[in-house]
Symmetry: C2
Subunit: 698 residues, 2 copies
């Protein structure tokens, strides 16, 4: 941490204390405002400094990593020989291996461990479903166009970039008055204190600006197209879903799904049935999602097609305890609560048990998943010191969600949202149920039936039928809709109906299921008080949703595991945990010699039989170079065949990170590799059991 | 096999012999025609009889299987609560488990075993790429519309259905004159012999009718809309790809890929580099593909979105031997060659070694993959007696392919194409290379350089440059395109150029790289004979493509593994091999008793630790019912906790198909389940080692 940052942190703490003490004195808002402003300004300054630190002081060289990822075909822009398509990437063999292992570990950690019900739903989705979910209306961004070049920008990102630049320029000027930016050779502009504060305010509330408000803001801030400084168009709303036509008639509009979640919800009834009506349980799905980003940037972090792994855990809204919470409650995580974000107080370390107890995390089930996500990410190799859980602020949380925490992983791009974990309440199931008329509820047999007096409707079908003839059905269904469940009616609606009868001489108006108004009399229907016995409780479950963006996590993993080993020439190492490494072992003969071939084959077949992927490198390069090439792929082990092998059938086993070796017979080495990959043993244990071998080979 | 079919087979063989002997006598075409006609008619009759057999005599009850698949949530129509979308299906938990295990076994059998390079490319594909591959122009079907109802039909399917119906009606009448179809209550129509023959001819060559020819055919046959008998529209070509716009400008048209193959080809250069320039090697990819079928039918067999697993194996066109062919050459497969299809001679059993030797299968590499596909399908549980390899007829094979064999699996829908295995020659790489200008070639160092005399071009740039100025580049590039590789020119083109110079007084016309014609003189360029030394061979590799349709194979597997166990009530069993079964073990307490809970947990945790998915069923149903419920899911093993368990810690292990049990301590049972699933032991071996346990429980 730099001195500058330390100094700012101190100032923020002091100012935070001051604000809190003022609040405690119950001073007026107007009096508090300037102090709050100062706090905000300090926080923003800290962010700017911290952002520079992330990329610069860490000495992480993104270009070197990106060159490696391209050279060793981890990733490539899709259709590169055709010039590529922005926001689309292909995964080459090492990245495929990494992703396959990620998904297999994910299935073990979540699906198998929790007996989740796995689903595979279609990417193609009809419009009606996505209307219900709100995506057709709200899954949009504002875009603006450079009126001369036609270039298109995402409006909110543009405002953010421009304001941050202006603040940074001002910052520079305040430190070195008169200094022009040497690289860009433009004149820096100074900002008034009030303007500075306004900008900081806007940045903090930018999520609230949309459509006309955003247009007004852009005009007010006099924002022009970057680079060209041309005039911009008014913002236009752009739906981020890819649309298409399903079938040959052109009558069924469809979209590529923007998330896998809706597929779970529309299958809820079948899932519940599969789970023999029991709750809680979870469904899980791994699949592609698609978002037509306006201007994709930041490599794998903002792409137009990506793999997601989503869990929907269905829980009784009245009991969000989790039976296995006790297994995780002592895990210490970094929590960045909404409150702390407002106070600019930074994240806090505590156990998940404490966080739930204090109400920082809304409930046990949500907390359980937060902890399980943490354990998973650390297991696959994410640096726990660069992992935090940030709570959504009120204004960024969907209106129906009751709490939401993002697992954020620090990378050279800053803290990136990688896993969302939201309590979506009963929102989705309720919407789909309303739209389709399909009941999406849990029916729970009560151990003790509830006996109570309440209003019920009694139908006199002999009168009702003839009175409405073919419309009788609609009237009945309209009345049925006043039911809460099989046995109970909505008391407030029946009260109203009763009042109508009482005040209108036994006549009332109701809405039928066809949407028309019907006049009914108390000869047809009576509202009476009755004792009912409820033996079934019927409710819409709440949904807790952990949602993983696989590409983002894999990219962060690549950054966290990337090391440069200094030496004659800098060598690059990807220190993946063995379980997730794309290839488990390299097999190398010390030199080209036909006598080595049967041993190489024996090792390769032996490893394959144990399910261990391996690569043979019998090229003419030096042993050291071949090890180095493999370190770049993150292969944890190398088996070397040399002249000793011919004599006694032993080979050496080299571990990537320690670069230490042992020497044992081929079968022992193959078993050891499997045990190391499966986590049955560790390299430390292996070196304790077998003597370190000093090689003269390299 | 029915007597009727046997009789027809005999007649076909006799008639086939007659035709062959007549051909040998070199009689005229006109004389041969009636005999050929008879053969075709017999073959068609046999097909009709055989098709009935497939669905009826096997007593396979598709409705019962479909009911099971729906009830136990193997599959469900997507968005069912919204009324569903035809051609789209969701996979529930058992089908997901089945598919996950399928893919994991596929990766082991192909990717790991052959060191294939796995790729993951995007579903979204820009139009230009699919123009090059020919999909924009040719990936189409003809559709016709009922002019009254607007219903849409795929034209060729409609013709086929109508003609088959007319032939069947005629067949019925010929057997029982005057008989109306009892079910449909319509009057059957008799066909003249000549019409019958015409229909059979059309059915055999239907693939050749497209666009205007198909329109003419439909008019000629007087085909109307099925059910309504309304007039039909003219056929309209319909592209089967789903289109969309990539990015916000609407300027980049894209499609959802109809296959994964193109993603491999555009990445060829990177793949070759990853494989350090060595050939042969293969890339492999598992992913979704999309086809906007005109009227999807037949459940999982014709859907609009499906998972494919495709391999592209790159091989030297001059050496298609395969080093591991020897490992498979004795596998006996059922080959249905193009020749036998023409002769209506039925498939033939022989070893793949023989098939390649006789030239029935084009080359060793193609043969190797055919055999590997066979071994894989049998391993996962496809009945080898209902699996054949059918060669594409000349008219159904893509023009560039040099041979193609489909693995066809017999199901209640007939023989269904499930895996294609084609030798696509150098077609795809050549097309993409031409379009993009990117060289997609292998460069092989020759062990012995080739020294030869041939024509080469010598440039006099001092004259050429000033003569064409800014166009000189185009002229040079035009001339460069006459090169075969770095060192050699296309001799025929240089001969032509030389002739032009000779006959036109040293002047010739060539096409520049800008497409314009340029006049050059022999002062600028000379065609001379020279001795060149070639040390590098440069060539476009050929591609052998095994392409798996996962959904179809899984559906066939469900049919092949579906059994009905007769008893008090018919019980349904899905006898999957343990390795592919969705859930590996059921855990059941003999009755509800809290004392059993710790044992259940111990077994569940023990199995999970070994990676074995399991389900606990502690419902109140009888043990027999609970076993039966699990047989429906194809779970191979059940572990039962009873009162003995409390005393001595032993549990019983029941095997699904034999319904036999053994009794051993919990740890032994958990190990046994893992060994059985991994194929380390068999149930037969287990019952030899441990005594059969006679249970009083059930």
């Amino acid at each position: 941490m730099s001195d500058e940052l330390n100094a700012l942190d101190l100032l923020i703490t002091e100012q935070g204390d001051k604000v809190r003490s003022l609040k405690a004195q119950k001073i007026t808002k107007a009096e508090l405002q300037p102090e709050l402003g100062k706090l905000k300004q300090l926080k923003s300054e800290r962010d700017i400094v911290a952002e520079k630190l992330t990329t610069k002081e860490r000495k992480f060289d993104r270009n070197t990593l990106e060159a490696l990822l391209s050279r060793r075909f981890f990733i490539a822009p899709s259709f590169q020989i055709y010039g590529g398509v922005s926001g689309l990437y292909d995964y080459g063999p090492p990245m495929c291996g990494l992703q396959n292992n990620f998904l297999s570990l994910w299935r073990q950690h979540f699906v198998l461990e929790e007996d989740m019900l796995e689903l595979e739903c279609t990417n193609l989705s009809p419009e009606e479903v996505l209307k219900t979910s709100g995506h057709v209306e709200r899954f949009t961004d504002d875009m603006v166009k450079d009126l001369v070049t036609g270039d298109i920008f995402r409006a909110d990102h543009l405002v953010k970039a421009v304001l941050n630049q202006r603040l940074e320029d001002d910052e520079t000027l305040r430190k070195k008055p008169g200094a022009p930016d040497s690289k860009k050779k433009k004149k820096l502009e100074k900002l008034e204190d009030s303007v500075r504060e306004e900008y900081l305010n806007i940045l903090e509330t930018l999520d609230n600006y949309q459509g006309p408000e955003l247009a007004k803001l852009i005009r007010h801030l006099n924002i022009k197209a970057p680079e060209t400084q041309n005039e911009l168009s008014e913002p236009v709303r752009f739906n981020l879903m890819f649309d298409t036509q399903i079938g040959p008639t052109g009558q069924l509009k469809g979209y590529l799904r923007p998330e896998t979640a809706q597929g779970h919800f529309v299958n809820f009834k079948k899932l519940l049935e599969f789970n023999t009506g029991q709750i809680p349980f979870a469904s899980a799905s791994i699949g592609k999602s698609f978002r037509n980003e306006i201007s994709p940037k930041q490599g794998l972090l903002r792409v137009r097609e990506f793999t997601m792994a989503e869990i929907e855990h269905y829980v009784d809204p009245e009991n969000k305890k989790h039976p296995k919470f006790v297994e995780v409650e002592n895990e210490i995580l970094s929590f960045y609560s909404a409150e702390n974000q407002l106070k600019a107080a930074g994240p806090v370390q505590m156990t998940i048990g404490e966080a739930v107890k204090k109400g920082i995390v809304n409930n046990q089930t949500l907390g359980y998943f937060v902890a399980r996500i943490y354990l998973f990410l650390v297991k696959i190799g994410i640096d726990p010191k660069r992992l935090r859980f940030r709570q959504h602020m009120k204004n960024e949380m969907a209106h129906y969600a009751c709490d939401c925490w993002d697992a954020e992983i620090e990378s050279s791009y800053g803290w990136i949202e990688s896993v969302g974990c939201a309590d979506r309440s009963a929102f989705d199931l309720t919407c789909h149920s309303k739209k389709t008329g399909e009941k999406l509820v849990v029916r729970e047999a009560l151990t003790k039936p509830i006996i109570k007096d309440c209003l019920v409707l009694e139908f006199n079908k002999k009168v009702l039928g003839p009175a409405f003839r073919k419309n009788a059905k609609f009237v009945e269904e309209g009345l049925e809709s006043m039911k809460l469940d099989e046995e109970e009616f909505k008391q407030d609606e029946l009260e109203k109906l009763k009042k109508q009868f009482d005040s209108n001489g036994g006549i009332a108006k109701i809405i039928g299921s066809d949407g028309n108004e019907y006049e009914i009399s108390d000869k047809m229907i009576q509202v009476v008080k009755k004792t009912i016995k409820k033996s079934i409780r019927e409710y819409v479950p709440n949904v807790i949703e952990p949602s993983f963006g696989i590409g983002r996590i894999l990219y962060a993993l690549l950054e966290h595991r990337f090391n440069i080993r200094e030496g004659d020439e800098a060598r690059h190492v990807l220190s993946f945990p063995a379980s997730i490494a794309p290839f488990k072992a390299l097999i190398v003969p010390i030199s080209h010699n036909d006598a080595f071939l049967p041993f190489i084959k024996q090792i390769s077949v032996g490893l394959r039989k144990r399910g261990m992927s391996n690569k043979i490198d019998d090229s003419a390069s030096s042993l050291g170079k071949r090890y180095a090439r493999n370190d770049e792929l993150g292969t944890p082990f190398a088996v070397t065949v040399d002249f000793e092998t011919e004599k006694d059938g032993t080979v050496t086993l080299r571990e990537r990170d320690s670069m230490k070796q042992i020497r044992q017979p081929i079968n022992v080495i193959c078993d050891l590799i499997k045990d190391l990959v499966d986590g049955e043993t560790t390299w430390h244990e292996v070196t304790k059991k077998y003597p370190i071998f000093q090689s003269n080979n390299e």
